[in-house]
């Protein structure tokens, strides 16, 4: 696809998602209390969107990922929360 075709096909969808992200950050800021590590992880991942570094989707995924390499002693439960406390 040409760059023009990508814009024609995906611009409105991406614009919609960007505004949703902005509204989420506003909502988070408006809310009371401390929250948890996910807010910081989210802001760190957002940093991967700007600049000219390639592989933004991969870098966002890595920003949320557990970077350690050894298995843990025991599973703390079954679910995942989407970010790793760094």
């Amino acid at each position: 696809m040409t760059r023009q075709q990508v814009l024609d096909l995906y611009f409105l969808d991406a614009r919609h998602k960007l505004i949703e992200l902005a509204a989420f950050l506003d909502r988070l800021e408006r809310a009371e209390g401390d929250g948890d590590f996910r807010a910081e992880a989210f802001r760190a991942a957002l940093g991967e969107l700007t600049g000219n570094k390639k592989g933004r989707a991969k870098n966002v995924q890595l920003a949320f990922s557990d970077p350690t390499t050894a298995p843990i002693d025991k599973a703390p439960g079954k679910g995942a929360v989407g970010a790793y406390p760094k």
Partner: protein, 266 residues
């Protein structure tokens, strides 16, 4: 267009889904054994589940002209209990000669614990001893990158395992390359909220090529879409991909991998 759904948990779906998949061109549905949404209290629960996968579900699919195949194992979410896992693993060989069984799966990791890894290696050993294909579940969200690495290391350490007979499922942007580099197949799961969207899955195909990659819906009891594969085929067409390329990804690729099992016939 004809396609194969290589990963769907049909025991969790209503009969209407079989009809909609058949209408969309689905030729066969493959169902890995997975977590029921709750922990089973004893090995008998797995006996009943394996009977459901090998006896009842193929009949339900056949009513809509769909072939039904399955994979057997204990999933990683119930693998923290090693004693139960050993009992289930001992049960699996009794079902391996059923005509719709494709191999051992979906084995893998969930939270990347020592017991999960131990049970994963026990099931890799089971697959090797019985010359079975392997379908691997990789962990969710923040645990995926680490878990995929641990899984690949364990598979590479077992010299009996041929990479081309292993599919590593639920790959995303940060894990697909390491799987393909290891010579294994990679599955992209299309979910509305997590894993891959149709657009991102096509991005991955455009970035890494269409060899040893397949698409699946992994539809189950959670937020998921049994028509995610044909919808992604539509996404490929919207971008101008040739019909032959679409067919390769949604039909020929899964057919090539699955045909390594003598039981897989369309």
């Amino acid at each position: 267009m004809n396609y194969i759904e290589p990963h769907a948990h049909m025991v969790s779906r209503v009969t209407d889904d079989y009809e909609r998949m058949a209408l969309a061109g689905c030729q066969a549905v493959c169902e890995p054994a997975f977590w029921a949404g709750f922990d089973r209290s004893a090995v008998q629960g797995f006996h009943d589940y394996f009977s459901q996968l090998t006896e009842h579900e193929p009949k339900r699919a056949a009513k809509f002209g769909l072939k039904h195949f399955c994979w057997l194992c204990i999933n990683s979410k119930e693998a923290e209990d090693v004693k139960l896992a050993e009992e289930v693993i001992a049960l699996v060989p009794k079902f391996l000669n059923r005509p719709n069984v494709l191999g051992i799966g979906e084995i893998g990791l969930n939270k990347n614990s020592k017991n999960e890894l131990r049970v994963f290696e026990m099931q890799v050993d089971l697959a090797a001893k019985h010359d079975q294909l392997i379908l691997v579940h990789t962990p969710h969200l923040e645990d995926k990158w680490k878990g995929t690495r641990l899984i690949l290391d364990a598979l590479k350490n077992d010299k009996r395992i041929k990479p081309e007979r292993v599919i590593i499922d639920h790959v995303e942007e940060h894990t697909v390359e390491m799987v393909l580099d290891a010579g294994m197949w990679a599955g992209m799961t299309l979910y509305p909220e997590t894993k891959c969207s149709p657009a991102r899955a096509v991005d991955i195909l455009e970035t890494y090529g269409n060899e040893r990659l397949w698409l699946n819906s992994a539809c189950d009891w959670g937020v998921s879409d049994p028509l995610a594969v044909p919808k992604t085929a539509l996404e490929m067409r919207r971008r101008g991909h040739l019909e032959a390329t679409v067919e390769k990804v949604v039909l020929q690729n899964p057919k090539k991998f699955l045909s390594q099992s003598k039981n897989f016939k369309l």
